[in-house]
């Protein structure tokens, strides 16, 4: 049994290195500036060839890769990278936002896929998941997930807050499990829709918000410490801080 995390505050990844391969200067500036403000170190390439060279030459925590690039397109770059046994997580960006493009990107070895236009918050949330996956404590194998006095047993499927046993619907259980696996990280509505429901479209309504507020009432109502946090313009975060 893995030791339980003593705390569940979001330990921000400082100075994670990001390689941004994007030919559109305006979008690249926007992403780089935002990531810089969030404390990431960003290296940039504006074409596929330079990008591939940099990705194989240096160590990065995550590569943000545009799909349409001059000199070498994103998919070929990704395949060449994986062929050279560089397993840096790749977040692929594309103006081709359809499901087909997402599937082909993921098949080629991308770890996540984001259709343009995207909000910076969405990009940031997904980047942090990839960074955490690479550098943080792996929680995937834990059978008991904890945050403060909240405890979720993945085997017996029992959820407790303090001494109180909480009855959850199967989908609520998976929602909470996902939030606990991404403790302290911002998870967006689309990330939840993809991971918990396996739907890859934007319903355009607040379906997810209603699920979250239902779950939040079951977990946080009557408690001193609120574990659910709404992150403005981005999504949700489960943490005790």
């Amino acid at each position: 049994m893995m030791p339980a995390a003593s705390t569940c505050t979001g330990n921000r990844e400082v100075s994670a290195r990001i390689l941004l391969i994007e030919d559109d200067g305006q979008i690249a500036d926007y992403i780089a500036r935002g990531l810089d403000e969030e404390g990431f170190v960003v290296d940039r390439a504006d074409n596929g060839r330079d990008g591939l060279f940099m990705a194989t030459d240096r160590e990065f925590d995550v590569v943000v890769l545009d799909r349409m690039l001059p000199a070498m397109d994103g998919l070929s770059l990704l395949k060449a990278m994986r062929a050279a046994e560089v397993d840096t997580p790749v977040l692929m960006l594309s103006a081709l936002g359809s499901t087909d493009d997402r599937v082909s990107g993921l098949t080629a070895g991308a770890d996540d896929y984001l259709g343009k236009p995207f909000s910076f918050a969405e990009l940031l949330a997904r980047l942090q998941v990839l960074v955490r996956r690479r550098t943080g404590t792996p929680r995937m194998q834990d059978t008991v997930l904890r945050c403060a006095d909240l405890e979720l047993d993945r085997l017996s499927r029992v959820v407790r807050r303090g001494g109180r046993k909480i009855a959850l619907q199967p989908r609520e259980f998976r929602l909470l499990e996902y939030l606990l696996l991404h403790l302290g990280e911002v998870v967006t509505r689309t990330m939840l829709l993809e991971a918990v429901w396996d739907f890859h479209f934007d319903p355009g309504t607040n379906v997810i918000d209603v699920h979250i507020s239902r779950l939040r009432r079951k977990i946080d109502d009557g408690e001193g410490t609120m574990l659910f946090h709404t992150v403005r313009g981005a999504g949700y975060r489960l943490a005790a801080d």
């Binding site: 305006q26 979008i27 926007y30 935002g34 403000e37 103006a95 936002g97 359809s98 499901t99 087909d100 599937v103 082909s104 259709g115 343009k116 236009p117 995207f118 909000s119 910076f120 918050a121 989908r171 429901w197 739907f199 890859h200 479209f201 934007d202 319903p203 355009g204 309504t205 607040n206 379906v207 209603v210 699920h211 239902r214 403005r232 313009g233």
Partner: protein
């Protein structure tokens, strides 16, 4: 074969039948006329024969007196030798009979009359024609010729007529069938092409042969029409797709600028306004995405990810996803799901269901029922609501892109939801239609997405 028979046009069958009935009537009239003419000829012939025999007998009587006449009758000599001729001489003791068992009752006339001839006790009476006359010595001479002229003619003509009718009807049916089959064979190809055009395959064309008949003309015009539709649709598609595509980048930059501004301001009023702007930019982005997705679906530029899929499971997932939202809006979301396995794209089908549930929630339903059924080669996903419904006249229009009915203008949305569902239906070779609610109260709207198994 049955299918083809059913495609025969009833109008054509009636037309062909009418032509043949007319033909039959005219043949019947001709036959009837012919019968009259022939009967007349035969009758004239008989009359002359009767008169000839009588004149012959009278000549014998005038030359040799009664004994010669009696001998001629008894021995059946001369014109009395003809077996169809019968003679009776009465009034002088024992009647002299030739070819007769009983003297037929007959008045004395100038012209021969039809009579019934009695030949013997076991032989049925025969029709004949006879004339009666008085000899100078007061005896009565009856001369006649046997022959069932009229009834035999009638029998012969009835047989001929019957045969003609049977053959004519058989021929009529056969030619109607052949004509119908040929027409339906030719129109079927045309109808199938029209069907393809209607379902969005604007490249469908008919083979053109220049034999110059009406069908060729029809095919030619059909192809010209298809060509024109194809051009218009692809122009329209290209314009809207490039418009949507070109609008995406400015919208992305707009969102980015709003995000940047949100980071920099602290004044609550400004934040609120920026958040509203952000939501609108998101709405605009979604509209553009959906419009592009519909264009891709209709253009067939979407990879085929269809797999055998239980629509009931997808519907169950969607119902579960929307149930809290429905509850929050005070709507009862129910499911009546039967297993319905179709070869379908889960992503597209779930988007279609999401759009239908969204619509029902948006337009004031209090109760929404999600159903799946499987019937004979088809699967159906139906969303029934008890909302205000859509007037029958608006139903076709409302599934077009960017069409919003007047009462929807104040609500958020881009008029793309149902167009997306229709595109998903077409992508799967299925159909999408709107109907009156079929619940117990017959209100609301029933949206049906049908996919082939």
């Amino acid at each position: 074969m049955n299918r083809r028979l059913r495609r025969l046009s009833p109008t054509i069958l009636w037309l062909v039948a009418a032509v043949f009935i007319l033909q039959l009537l005219s043949s019947a009239a001709a036959i009837f006329f012919l019968r009259g003419q022939m009967l007349e000829v035969v009758r004239t012939d008989r009359v002359r024969q009767v008169l000839d025999v009588r004149d012959d007998l009278l000549a014998t009587y005038l030359q040799g007196g009664r004994p010669s006449l009696a001998q001629m009758i008894v021995r059946q000599q001369g014109s009395a030798a003809d077996p169809t001729v019968f003679i009776a001489l009465t009034g002088g003791g024992t009647p002299l009979l030739s070819n007769l068992a009983r003297v037929p009752a007959l008045d004395i006339t100038q012209r021969p009359r039809p009579v019934m001839v009695h030949l013997g006790p076991d032989i049925p009476d025969i029709e004949g024609m006879a004339i009666a006359g008085q000899l100078p010595d007061g005896e009565r001479l009856v001369v006649g010729v046997m022959g069932a002229t009229e009834s035999r003619f009638n029998l012969a003509f009835a047989t001929a007529g019957g045969l003609t009718i049977v053959v004519a009807v058989a021929l009529a049916l056969a030619s109607a069938l052949l004509l119908g089959l040929e027409i339906s064979r030719r129109t079927r190809a045309i109808a199938m092409t029209a069907e393809q055009l209607a379902s969005g395959n604007f490249g469908a064309r008919l083979p053109e042969a220049r034999s110059g008949d009406g069908f060729d003309h029809l095919r030619l015009q059909m192809n010209r029409m298809a060509e024109r539709i194809d051009t218009l649709v692809s122009e329209l598609g290209a314009v809207s797709a490039s418009l949507a595509h070109d609008l995406r980048s400015p919208v992305a930059r707009l969102s980015a600028a709003i995000d940047t501004a949100l980071e920099r301001v602290d004044e609550p009023g400004a934040i609120e306004a920026l958040q509203a702007a952000r939501e609108n930019a998101d709405g605009l982005r979604r509209m553009l995405e959906t419009a592009l997705e519909i264009t891709r679906l209709e253009g067939g530029a979407v990879a085929d990810r269809r797999v055998p899929l239980d629509l009931a499971a997808v519907a169950q997932d969607m119902a579960e996803l929307y149930e809290p939202l429905a509850e929050q809006s005070g709507v009862l979301l129910e499911t009546r799901l039967e297993p319905a396995v179709a070869t379908a794209d889960r992503e597209l089908v779930s988007r279609a269901i999401a759009n239908l549930i969204d619509n029902a929630l948006k337009y004031g339903a209090r109760r929404v029922t999600l159903r799946t059924t499987a019937v004979a080669g088809w699967t159906e996903i139906a969303v029934l609501d008890d909302g205000p419904g859509i007037a029958p006249g608006d139903r076709d229009r409302v599934v077009e892109r960017f069409v919003r009915l007047d009462n929807a203008r104040t609500l958020p949305g881009g008029g793309l939801g149902l167009a997306m569902v229709l595109a998903v239906a077409r992508r799967h070779g299925g159909t999408f239609d709107l109907a009156d609610g079929d619940g117990p109260d017959q209100r609301g709207l029933l949206a049906r997405l049908r996919l082939p198994v």
